[in-house]
Symmetry: C2
């Protein structure tokens, strides 16, 4: 029980990473599997995740991120892109997976598929993007938490030019939009922010118990 | 390492809760503290969280949630509401907290405060709400994960009439908007969904390693 609060206290937004320290591939695979298991609305997982080690690519992304050193000094940069638009295929791919995974005849899932389509595919494009972005943040938060459980440092990043990320990663043609990123690696001993006390709202300011 | 994937595999969206089993107050406090420590953009935490045990209130919320039994059968219902609008006070309250927590003179933080205001308070109202909702999902996902770590069952809920929640909880006057909820408690042995294999996209469909 104590652990639950402990690794959340240990986690902080690392400002300086040790560029020599790399996250082991087995840990990257754990982060991927943990994130893959994330909850999402109807289970549709309307996003794609880029796990980027390539230094040249990260240099280009850094230039689109106000030059933040975490982009290149961390071991890996994880970029989360939400579906910015989608049609029936989002639901149909899911229903096919559901049918196979749970051994349910596809015909028996047509009503459910039609319901999901009516709720989601029928939305205006902007609302689709908003809905998908929120689901993406569930996965993003889950990965940040999984990293903390592994005592892997991370820095959440929203400060980048999404349209430039989209161009660099070729996302536009796939109807994806880069929305948030997580640099993962190991903190530098020189990162002075690690010693600073956390600034958080009080329990009383943030929660109402009824 | 194995634990990290194990409790994420154990977690599922509980459909039937055992209405007799209550989450201990110490565990509720752990969930609150874990959630309080969530990351957010600039650390601003633009949301409020309602932890609801009251049965009458939950009956009213259930009526605004298509009658979903999890609302009343779970031990507690946690409702996450994001700031739907805000002015300078969001930044000023934070800067005051930052000043006190880290013992920095307020005068030294005015430039930083002005920067945050220019980035956030200047946004159109709808963009403010979108930004705040995404931060709220970080906290929401974090709490869902913390519950799983405690082996407390949960059901994430987006299927409710937000405007009715806002009215019932008196959120409009506070510029808050109910966006997502988490029913927490213990699964009923009769919940057949607990035995079903998870439906998730494959690693290959969801991730690109570069």
């Amino acid at each position: 029980m104590k652990d639950i609060v402990e690794h959340r206290t240990w986690r902080y937004a690392a400002k300086k990473f040790d560029p020599q320290k790399k996250v082991a591939q087995t840990d990257i695979e754990t982060l991927i599997e943990a994130t893959r298991l994330s909850a999402s609305s109807y289970g549709l997982q309307p996003y794609h995740v880029f796990v980027i080690a390539d230094p040249q690519l990260r240099e280009r992304l850094k230039a689109a991120s106000y030059g933040q050193d975490q982009i290149t000094d961390a071991s890996h940069l994880i970029v989360f892109a939400h579906a910015s638009d989608f049609g029936d295929e989002l639901v149909e791919d899911f229903v096919e997976n559901l049918s196979q995974t749970r051994n349910i005849p596809l015909e028996g899932l047509q009503g459910y598929a039609a319901f999901m389509k009516s709720r989601l595919v029928a939305l205006p494009r902007e609302s689709k993007g908003d809905w998908a972005a929120r689901q993406t943040y569930i996965a993003f938060s889950n990965m940040m938490q999984a990293a903390a459980e592994l005592h892997i440092d991370s820095c959440p990043l929203e400060g980048f030019q999404a349209h430039q990320y989209n161009e660099i990663l070729g996302l536009g043609a796939k109807n994806l939009n880069a929305v948030v990123a997580l640099a993962v690696g190991y903190r530098s001993p020189k990162d002075e922010t690690q010693a600073l006390p956390k600034v958080r709202k009080s329990k009383e300011a943030l929660f109402t118990l009824i």
